[in-house]
């Protein structure tokens, strides 16, 4: 098996679902991810040497490597890995609707919560490697659970344990999770919101605007299952709400168009609200490999833009191909 195929397989959500433990899943995602990134995008003052650079006017003289000057008779400036000292908060939705996914029926893929957890832990893994602190807030419609931010790599297992032990239930109240961060985050940092954004979102975006106002960089990952994006059902089905427990007996083909129309409107609304609140937005389709999604995010692609997967028809095609 070639290395490319190997990583491709590891990045596939179905392959990830075969791995036991959130940390193992995240590590595989990050391993694949780093091959695409090669080096940290951040450079600055740090105790850890990174590389030499030929001196140019304006560089600090104290960073000139005199030993190199002695050997090479040229001025070289030492460059160090930056110690950012940032704090990143992961705000993960644990409402009942996040339990939806193929894993629920033994299909082998991930639920939306599992997918969001893989995204969060993978990003946390990267951030901890560059000495940033990561914290975790999970929210439903009750009191949010909070894991304070720490910068040690040993913090990652704690985060994984919390996510793995989280019970996915109840309604959605994103603002309670964000309010918890507003009360605690004194330094500017990153805030990653991972939710399906079902239910009332006005208060959530108000809280996000406040975070942005305090200098935080907020990113919203809207995590949706392929079924939700393409509505592929055919036979007469009795649908039951996961949060509301409402039931509807319907022939899916008859309601599909109306459903897709309303979903598309909802996605556009969430994206527009993100743009208005200066929040970066990414649609996370659980059929897509988490590593690929993160790569696109880290390289600046497919964020705060409609993207192919924002289009329901495109999403439907993708679903067909996936099947």
């Amino acid at each position: 098996m070639s290395a490319g195929a190997f990583h491709s397989q590891l990045l596939d959500p179905r392959a990830l679902a075969q791995l036991a433990g959130l940390q193992a899943r995240a590590r595989k995602v990050v391993d694949g991810l780093l091959q695409g990134i090669h080096k940290s995008p951040h450079h600055g003052s740090s105790i850890e040497f990174s590389e030499h650079k030929e001196y140019s006017p304006g560089d600090e003289i104290r960073h000139i490597d005199w030993k190199a000057f002695g050997r090479l008779d040229k001025y070289y400036v030492k460059r160090f890995e930056q110690e950012s000292n940032l704090t990143a908060w992961f705000v993960v939705d644990r409402s009942a609707s996040m339990a939806y996914g193929r894993a629920q029926e033994g299909g082998g893929a991930l639920t939306k919560f599992e997918y969001a957890s893989v995204l969060a832990v993978s990003l946390a893994h990267l951030l901890l490697q560059q000495q940033d602190a990561v914290g975790l807030v999970t929210f439903g419609d009750d009191d949010p659970a909070l894991l304070p931010p720490r910068g040690r790599t040993s913090h990652l297992p704690h985060m994984c344990k919390v996510l793995e032990e989280t019970k996915v239930r109840g309604g959605t109240s994103i603002e309670t999770g964000l309010t918890a961060i507003l009360e605690r985050a004194r330094k500017r940092g990153f805030v990653y919101v991972l939710s399906d954004f079902f239910g009332e979102t006005e208060a959530a975006f108000k809280a996000m605007r406040q975070l942005v106002g305090r200098g935080h960089q907020v990113t919203a990952f809207q995590v949706l299952d392929g079924d939700e994006l393409s509505f592929p059902f055919g036979e007469m089905t009795l649908f039951e709400g996961m949060e509301s427990k409402q039931r509807l007996l319907v022939e899916p083909r008859l309601v599909r168009d109306a459903y897709m129309k309303r979903l598309k409107a909802h996605l556009q609304q969430v994206r527009a609200q993100c743009l208005r609140a200066q929040v970066a937005y990414a649609l996370a389709d659980t059929r897509e490999a988490p590593g690929r999604l993160l790569l696109k995010y880290l390289t600046g692609h497919d964020v705060s833009s409609p993207g192919a997967s924002l289009d329901p028809d495109g999403a439907r095609d993708g679903a067909r191909e996936a099947r």
């Binding site: 009942a96 609707s97 996040m98 339990a99 939806y100 629920q104 939306k112 399906d196 079902f198 239910g199 949706l224 299952d225 079924d227 939700e228 059902f233 036979e235 007469m236 089905t237 009795l238 649908f239 039951e240 709400g241 996961m242 949060e243 509301s244 409402q246 509807l248 007996l249 319907v250 022939e251 083909r253 008859l254 309601v255 109306a258 459903y259 309303r262 979903l263 909802h266």
Partner: protein, 706 residues
């Protein structure tokens, strides 16, 4: 609304298919938790309602489609009802065929006899016919009668004819009435010629008519059911059988009343029998569409022969068939004592193995035959005067006592039949004496059954005296199995001259097979081969059963009086001429005395009874004397008892094909006969077809749009 192909309406059952599929789908619908429920619920309730409405609409359209297809194929049309057809003011001729058979005396829903309702309807039709319509009234009770001189415009004549319609114990003669109507309309010059049949439209009335060719030249016909399709449950006495109840003591008779239930539910009724001044009451519980028998035992004094008996049921809708008149002279019934001369514990080796079922097929006595089976030792213990016939089956010899008894029995008018067998020898003749028509000379065997050459060696019955009442049954049946039976052995008779003796049948070569001789007032007969398979295979031939039954009936004297068993109003009924001298008088059930005069032939044994038009007892006696009077009972026709409704769509179909089958009545011709076009008909099926296409288009549009 009517249909040209009404049977295709059964296809409407397919309309249940979409509903069943819908219900199955609902039941099999998979429960699926779904997160994005708020988008599915379509918070806009209008869309949800519209969706549900559309689903229901699609379902309704599919159901309608499946109903419309067989509906269109059944070719519906509208035809004006009978009243409106007759009530046309245009000139025309209408024959009113009014059923006045016995079933029309049944009570309708309003408690009135159905005939009253029919007459009222006929009056209404006459009144609405206008002055330019001529009418005739034909009564459809047997025999069919024209009650008006011809087609007439005179309303007074018509009213008189309708008034003459009274219910009576008649059978229905609808074919005769329709023929009469056809004859009348043939003489009419009017363009509009119609027949209206008013009656209960019971199945029995139409059973002979509901074929198109029976109505070949009736231009237009209409059927009016005066009971409006209402089912009428009815119980009827269908038979009363009398037999000596010897086991109950001397003079005892068993009266067995058969009660038929023509209703749809089980019924219980009280049965009352009056006979010889005695009355007994019992209860019959009869399942639907079944007949139950209730038996009573009464004492009948020897001198009371001819006594009148009556069996009655507690009343129901049709009272005329709740009574059965009978006479206790056992007329028409032969009590037979069958003596087994070679019994065996092995059933098929028993002498009566074949004769028993022949006289008692299906464990029920054959009509007019009441057999009793005994061994030879029983012969002297039985009171032979209780029997009409004695059969000695393979009895080889008689004791002097037995012989004396039998001689007395035959001389008194009894019948004796002797059949051959291994017990019979030439010496038997000595013990039988004159009880054998001819003495037995020898026992001959021409073939053995297991011999391969038996087929060419056996004898067969070759000559038959068809003039004899017993053998007349087989006339014109040259291929009857009687003539194909194989005879292996026989008793060779010494056919010396005996006064009145005759050979009824003989084997090839003129060897007597069946002989008869008179003895005193009775007769003796002999079958020279066996009644079982020992000497011939006659007993396994289909002719065996009628031959043996005819022999017994003939010897019992019931063959010529068989008709008396169920004398019915309207039948030609004969009665034995009473002994004595003087003019004959008939006492009718209605109390009238009718002088009959003397029989035309001095030696006549029977004379016909005129005008048997009322149910009850008829007695023929010598004027001024009751001695030797002969009583017979006559009952209403029991075919009228079943009031179940005829297959009216079929009757309508038959009536609406006037002239379609003037050709011979071949089934193929009927099947292919196309209905004559009736201008008064409004075809509906083209409109239904258009609607069908509309439904198809709507369904397709809804599905595609959905």
């Amino acid at each position: 609304m009517r249909f040209e192909n009404p049977w295709l309406l059964a296809g409407m059952a397919a309309a249940a298919i979409p509903v069943i599929i819908h219900l199955i789908n609902r039941r099999r619908a998979r429960l699926r938790p779904f997160a994005a429920m708020e988008f599915l619920l379509l918070s806009d309730k209008r869309i949800a309602r519209r969706l549900k409405l559309r689903q229901l609409l699609v379902l309704a359209l599919r159901v309608l489609l499946l109903v419309a297809i067989p509906f269109a194929l059944a070719k519906p049309y509208l035809a004006p009802d009978a009243t409106s057809r007759v009530a046309l003011s245009a000139p025309g001729s209408v024959v009113l065929v009014v059923d006045d058979s016995m079933s029309m005396s049944a009570r309708g829903e309003d408690g009135r006899p159905l005939l009253e309702a029919a007459v009222a309807e006929a009056r209404r039709l006459v009144a609405s016919g206008g002055s330019r319509t001529s009418f005739a009234v034909v009564a459809a009770g047997a025999p069919a009668r024209l009650l008006t001189p011809a087609l007439t415009y005179d309303r007074t004549t018509l009213e008189r004819a309708l008034t003459r319609l009274t219910p009576g114990p008649r059978a229905s003669d609808l074919p005769g009435a329709l023929r009469e109507a056809e004859r009348l309309l043939a003489s009419s010059a009017e363009a509009r010629r119609q027949v209206v049949v008013l009656g209960d439209q019971a199945r029995h009335a139409w059973s002979d008519v509901a074929e198109p060719w029976a109505l070949a030249r009736i231009p237009a016909a209409e059927v009016i059911d005066v009971r409006a399709g209402r089912p009428i449950d009815n119980l009827a006495i269908t038979q009363v059988a009398l037999r000596p109840a010897l086991e109950a003591g001397p003079g005892q008779v068993q009266v067995e009343v058969s009660v038929a239930n023509h209703g749809l539910a089980a019924a219980e009724t009280q049965v009352t029998v009056d006979l010889a001044g005695q009355q007994v009451v019992g209860t019959a519980r009869v399942p639907p569409a079944a007949t139950e028998k209730v038996a009573f035992t009464l004492r009948l004094d020897p001198g009371s022969a001819g006594d009148r008996g009556t069996a009655r049921l507690s009343g129901d809708a049709l009272p005329d068939d709740d009574v059965w008149y009978f006479a206790a002279d056992f007329g028409g019934q032969a009590n037979v004592l069958v003596v087994n001369g070679s019994p065996s514990n092995v059933p098929y080796q028993d002498e009566l193995f074949f004769l028993r079922p022949a006289l008692q097929p299906g464990d029920e006595p054959a009509r007019g035959i009441v057999p009793t089976f005994v061994g030879t030792s029983e012969l002297t213990r039985r009171p032979l005067e209780a029997y009409d016939v004695v059969v000695l089956a393979n009895v080889g010899s008689l004791t002097s006592t037995q012989r004396a008894l039998l001689e007395g029995f035959v001389e008194a008018g009894g019948g004796l039949l002797v059949t051959g067998g291994d017990q019979l020898t030439p010496d038997s003749s000595a013990t039988f004496g004159a009880l054998l028509p001819f003495p037995v000379r020898d026992i001959k065997t021409v073939a053995r059954r297991d011999d391969p050459a038996a087929a060419v060696q056996t004898l067969a019955i070759a000559n038959v005296d068809f003039e004899h009442p017993v053998m007349a049954e087989f006339e014109h049946l040259e291929d009857a199995s009687l003539f194909r039976s194989r005879i292996y052995s026989y008793a060779l008779l010494d056919t010396r001259h005996r006064e009145g003796a005759r050979v009824l049948a003989s084997f090839s070569g003129g060897i007597p097979a069946l002989v008869e001789a008179p003895h005193g007032r009775g007769r003796v007969m002999m079958l020279t081969t066996t009644a079982d398979r020992d000497w011939s295979d006659l007993c396994i031939r289909t002719s065996y059963l009628p031959l043996m039954q005819q022999l017994v009936r003939y010897l019992g004297g019931t063959l010529e009086r068989e008709g008396r068993l169920a004398n019915t109003v309207g039948d030609v009924v004969t009665v034995a001429v009473p002994e004595g001298t003087g003019p004959l008088v008939l006492d009718r059930p209605d109390g009238a005395e009718v002088p009959l005069g003397e029989p035309e032939a001095a030696d006549a044994r029977e004379l016909p009874i005129p005008d048997v038009d009322v149910a009850g007892h008829y007695t023929v006696r010598r004027a001024g004397s009751a001695h030797g009077a002969r009583t017979i009972a006559v009952n209403g026709p029991r075919t009228e008892s079943d009031l179940s409704l005829a297959d009216l769509p079929r009757v309508h179909a038959a009536l609406e094909r006037p002239g379609s089958a003037v050709a011979p009545p071949e089934a193929e011709a009927i099947a292919e006969a196309t209905p004559a076009e009736d201008p008064s008909r409004t075809r509906l099926w083209p409109a239904v077809l258009v609607a069908l296409f509309g439904l198809l288009a709507s369904e397709a549009w809804l599905v595609v749009r959905g």
